[in-house]
Every structure is written in C-alpha cells, then in structure tokens.
Amino acid sequence: MMPIKSRSAKPVRTAGIKPPVWFLAPAVLLYLAIVLIPNGQGLFFSFTDWDGLGSTWAPVGIDNYRAVLSDPNSLQAILNTFMLTLIVTIGQNVIGLLLALGVNSRVKSRHLLRLVFFLPVVLTPIVAGYLWKYLLTPNGTLNGLLESTGLGAWRQNWLGDPEIVLYSICAAVIWQGAGYSMVIYLAGLQAVPAEALEAAAIDGAGAARRTWSITLPLINGAIVVNLLLCVIGNLKQFDTVFSMSEGGPSGASETMATIVYKTAFTYLEYPNALAQGAILTLLVGVIGFVQFRLTQRKALA
C-alpha cells in the first residue's frame, strides 16, 4: 500500500522499509498446525488401514479409494451432490437476480423488501433445516396449507419420499441462499450507470431489452462471483441436508459431505472417510478452478 502523502506534513518514511520475514511466523505456524499438518496427516492415513484407536496401522495403497469408488452409496452421493449443486445454482441465481431486479426498481417498499428477502440468510443453515423439516412433515404446515386451500391432491411426503426428498432440500437451500445472491446482484446493479439505461430507453428499447442488452452484461462480475460461490458452497453442502433428512430415506438425499461424516462417525471407517474427504476436496478444487478459469475468460472478453 502507498502511504498517504500530505503536502504540509513531512513525508512518512515507510516506503523503503520492508517488514521482517519472521513477522510471518505466527501465521505460518498456526496455518501449519491447524490446516496443513492435519490435512497432510489425513491424506496420509487415507492410504492406511488405521482404525482410530492406538497407533498400529499398515499401508494399503489405494485400497480405500478403490473401495469408496466401487461403493454404490458413495457414487449415489456424488450424483446427488451434482444434482443438488446444479438445481440450487440455477434456482438460487435466477431467483436472486429477479429479486435484485425487483428491489432495484423504484418500488416504494424496496428497502423493506430487501430486508425481508435477506432475512433467511441470517439464519444458521442447521436451524433453517430443522424449521423446514417441521414444515414438510406429512401432517406439517405445507401439507396443511395445501389441504385447506383445496389443493389436497398436491400433498406430498416431502422428506419421506425418496423421489422427492432431494428437491425438497434444494428448495430449502434456495430459499435460504436467494437473498445472499440478491445482495451481490444488487451491488452489481447499483453500479449500472443510469445514463446508459436512459439512452437505451430514448432509443426505444423496452424494459426486457434494456435488462438483456445493458444490465446483464454490466453485472457480469456479480454473476461470476455468485456462480462460483454457489457451486463451491453446494458441493460441500452438509448442514441443511443433515438437519432435514440425515441423507435419508435410505440414502436418497445423501451428499458427499454427509457420507464423509457418516463413514467417519457412524461406520467408524476412518481411512475410507479420509479417502472420501480427499476425493471431495479434489472435486471441489478442480471444479472451482475450471469454473473460475472459464468465467474469468468470459468476464474479460
């Protein structure tokens, strides 16, 4: 950073002084102790048969990885995770963008609406998950509402039906995340110059045309950020799924994160859980990187 220069005061002589390298030591030590070493150990033990008690283990090569990748439950969880990420990313961004466009207009209640739409974000995901769980029980609020409005035929076993449960969870995740996306889009929208929109309006462009040709290209940065956060966040999705369904019924809504948890703390198969964790990390890393590269190029273009 440049020091602030003031003409009246003497120039501050910090520009030439570099902080000593050992200033980094506390941060590096902490990072080593908390992140790098445990993760390294985790990766190491994913190639062993360590059972979590005592210090005896033997190397088993890639057996754990082979076991995980040939386990239909793990594969189902990976598939579920991709489904959930896809649905939530699309849903949350479309809804978030529409909300942002709405509250960016000159609606009188726009400040109140912004607050209301952002409220779910403030809730802890696990709390939101439990709330939804009770709304979606067979005799819960949603089914009651459908019944009382004459839509009883639409009643569903939202979290008990293996065909539906994943979509119910997606809906809850979108409900909670849409406000977050909205805020990022709103920040982008506020930076769109009014002159450009006015000029377009004078040229005879309608609202839809203005949005498509002027607003959207100008908020490209917000779109990139939102998509990236959404994809990474949902590949790791755990809280909402676990609080709503524990991954059930019988694995129908298992995600990679819930299956890592279960393998470690229910099945007590630590090395397999470590292998799953490594696979999850790798997937998130690779997908995040590729997505970042692709969208960055697009944003620059």
């Binding site: 008690l53 039906d161 293996p162 977050y180 524990e246 019924p249 694995g251």
Partner: protein
C-alpha cells in the same frame, strides 16, 4: 457462505488460543491429574455421575473427583486420549463391540484394566457379563443401568377407549384396528430420525431370535447362522404387517420422532415403541396428569414367550494407563454399591444394573428388574455385531422397506453382507 467463513475464522482463532494455552501449560495436563488425590472421570453427557460423586468424596476425605464430560464426540475424544495416553483415570465405556471406546475393542487392545477380581464382580448379572468382558475373559467395567425397549402407552387415552396394552401379537394387531376405528394412531413411528428404525425390530427379535438362541451372534461369526435364514425374517415381516394393518401414522419416513412424542403426549397417538428412558422424557414434556404405561412388546401369541429387549447401558472402566489404579478401583467398587446404582439410575431415568436388595420406585425399573430376575431379557443385538456397518444397513433397509423400495429379504441379505465385512 459468508457466515460459514467467518465462523471458521473465529473457530480457528479460538483453536489457536487453545493451542497456545496448551503449549504454555506443557504436555503434562492430559485427561489425568498430577495431584494424587484428584480422580478424573470421563462421561458421555448427562449429569447422573455428578449426582453420585459427592458421596464418594465424603467417604474418602481429601479426594476430589473431577468429571470430564463430552456430550458430543465422546468416542472420538476418548479414543484419541487413549491413543495419546492422556485419557482420564476412569472412563465411560460401551458394552460389547460397536465403537473404539467399547469393551471388546478398547478392552481387547489392552486400554482397560482387568477388574475381574473385584468384590462386586460376582454381582454382575449374566445378561451383562459377556458384554463387559474382553475376548481374553477379563471383566473390565461396572454396569450402571439397564436400558430396554418396550411399548410406551398413554394410559389416559387407552382408558378413554377401553383398551389395554396388548400382551400378544394378535392383540397388537387388534389394538391397531381398535385405535384406527377410534380415529387414533396406535403406534407412532418417526423414521425420519434414523435411530428409531431399529426399535421395533429389536423388540421383536428379543423374543423371536435371541430368546431362542442367545449365542446367535456367535453362530453368525462362525458362519452357522445368518440374518436371512433366521426369524429376523419373521420380525421384519411382522414390522411390515403392522404397517399394512394401519398401526402407524401416515408416512413414517417423513415423520420426525419429536412429532411422535408430542402425539403420544396429546393422546392422538396411543403408544410408541421406544427406549425406557423415553417414559420420563415424554412425561416431562406432557400435560399435567399424563400417565404412561410401559410394557414389553410381544412378538408371539404366548405372553410367556415374550422377552424384554434390554441391555447394559453406561458402564465405567479403569484406564489401564492410569497411575492411580487403587483409587480408581475403589471408585469402581463405589459405583457398584446399590445406593450409588440407584441414585445414578434415578437421575439417568432408567433401571439400576446392580440394585442388590434395594428397589427403585419407578414402575419402569420394577418391570425391567422383574424381567432381568426371571432371565427373560435379550441384549440389543448390535452390541455383539463385529462390524459397524450392520446397524446402518438396518437403518437404511427399514427406511427403504417403508418407501416400498426394498423387502425384508433384501434388507437381511445386505445386513449379512455387512456383518462379514
């Protein structure tokens, strides 16, 4: 997403502070204490232990008992401490196999002290002894309570309809019909909380499988018995039969257990099959004057066949690495005394394992003690399963059966496979 990140940073900061503190304090302060008169005890949640330690401190002037409680992640914390040699002097252990802090896993690896020669060792009932003994034949833990599974009935709601708790399988199905005619749910079932999936199978197999062959699990290990080719099949079929007979609430898979608790309290649901400690939990949150009846859950048409699915609950063992062996052994002997047992069990909300000649006031405890004394109890099967994946296979399997995706035969085949993993 922002919140997660912030939380993680705060967590990291807290951890850093904790690490620094540990580093400053040196490595000597693990689970044990340097003070020869301080005995540390690891517990897994609940305050029952805290209710009894005062009596021990009174009987041993100068001695302090420190409870180190881990309500969450107890197994991970304790396994790590055992591995690192920093576990407390006395630790709560789990009977049988099942996890790293269980008798037959930690005990077999030599982490728990052999207390076979203790005076109280002879008082341990037959049904608990095996679960608390390592494969080398060393008794390592003192049992504190019996937990059991039975039907919990809302007596007021039953009286209103002129019904009684069924004592045979035919009566169970009739009970369901009668309840349905009165517009009530007979047995509440909240399978959305997966641990509840096993309750009825355990209750039924106590009579159908384990009463007939107490060494069934051993026979499975030897390869002479399987789930699929045993009355486990009958048990799961009876579970399905109950569902077909309309015994349960609509779509159990989507129903949380807490909703079942509320429905039993209100009397909209007449009963549920659950663990005995639920009697006090349900009663505590219920209306004034709620009266619950606890009964063994029948599986056949002869009430004399019925076994109670009961097992040894929290148990305590001495850490083999402690340097306070004598004090720790003395503490275990204290835990085995009838007065301690009953004080502990009353606070815990279940039945004392070693009540001696004393009796507990609660009706639940009296029922359970009756079955124990008659030898009509069968342990929870999972406590002798060699693999940790059998139970999850049952959880998933039951949910799949209730969503029509699987059959009892498929579930048992998967469990057999998991058993030999």
């Amino acid at each position: 997403m922002l919140s997660t990140k912030t939380r993680r940073r705060t967590g990291a900061a807290a951890l850093a502070a904790a690490l620094t503190a540990t580093a400053l304090a040196g490595c000597s302060t693990g689970g044990g204490s340097d003070d020869a008169n301080v005995l540390t005890v690891a517990t897994n949640g609940g305050d029952a232990m805290k209710a009894v330690i005062a009596a021990f401190e009174e009987a041993n002037p100068g001695v302090t008992v420190e409870v180190r409680d881990s309500p969450e992640n107890y197994q991970q914390v304790t396994a790590t401490q055992l591995t690192g040699g920093t576990a407390p002097d006395v630790i709560q252990v789990f009977p049988g196999t099942g996890n790293n802090v269980s008798v037959k896993i930690a005990g077999d690896k030599g982490f728990l002290l052999d207390v076979s020669d203790a005076d109280w060792a002879d008082t341990v009932p037959e049904s608990s002894r095996d679960l608390l003994t390592t494969d080398d034949g060393a008794l390592v833990a003192v049992p504190m309570t019996f937990s059991s599974i039975g039907g919990i009935y809302n007596q007021g709601a039953l009286d209103e309809l002129g019904l009684t708790a069924p004592a045979t399988w035919t009566e169970v199905l009739q009970f369901c019909t009668d309840a349905a005619e009165a517009g009530k749910v007979a047995y509440g079932l909240g399978l959305s909380d997966t641990w509840t999936t096993q309750l009825i199978p355990y209750a039924l197999t106590a009579t159908l499988v384990y009463a007939e062959d107490p060494d069934f699990a051993q026979h499975q290990v030897e390869g002479t018995a399987t789930f699929a080719d045993s009355p486990w099949q009958t048990a799961l079929e009876q579970y399905v039969e109950m569902n077909d007979a309309g015994c349960f609430n609509e779509s159990p898979n989507g129903t949380p257990y807490s909703e079942v608790q509320d429905a039993v309290r209100s009397g909209d649901t007449l009963a549920t099959v659950s663990v005995a400690a639920e009697n006090s939990t349900i009663a505590a949150g219920g209306p004034e004057g709620l009266e619950l009846t606890y009964a063994a859950f029948p599986a056949t048409d002869d009430p004399a066949d019925t076994f109670l699915s009961a097992t040894t609950g929290p148990s305590f063992a001495v850490n083999a690495a402690t340097d306070k062996t004598d004090l720790a052994k003395e503490f275990l002997a204290f835990l085995a005394e009838p007065e301690t047992q009953i004080a502990y069990a009353d606070r815990y909300g279940d039945t004392a394992a070693l009540p001696g000649d004393m009796a507990q006031d609660s009706a639940v405890a009296q029922l359970v003690t009756g079955y124990v004394n008659e030898g009509r109890v069968a342990s929870w099967p999972d406590q002798l399963w060699p693999s940790t994946t059998v139970q999850p296979a049952l959880f998933d399997g039951v949910q799949a059966v209730f969503s029509g995706q699987s059959t009892p035969a498929d579930v048992l085949a998967t469990m057999d496979q998991a058993f030999h993993e």
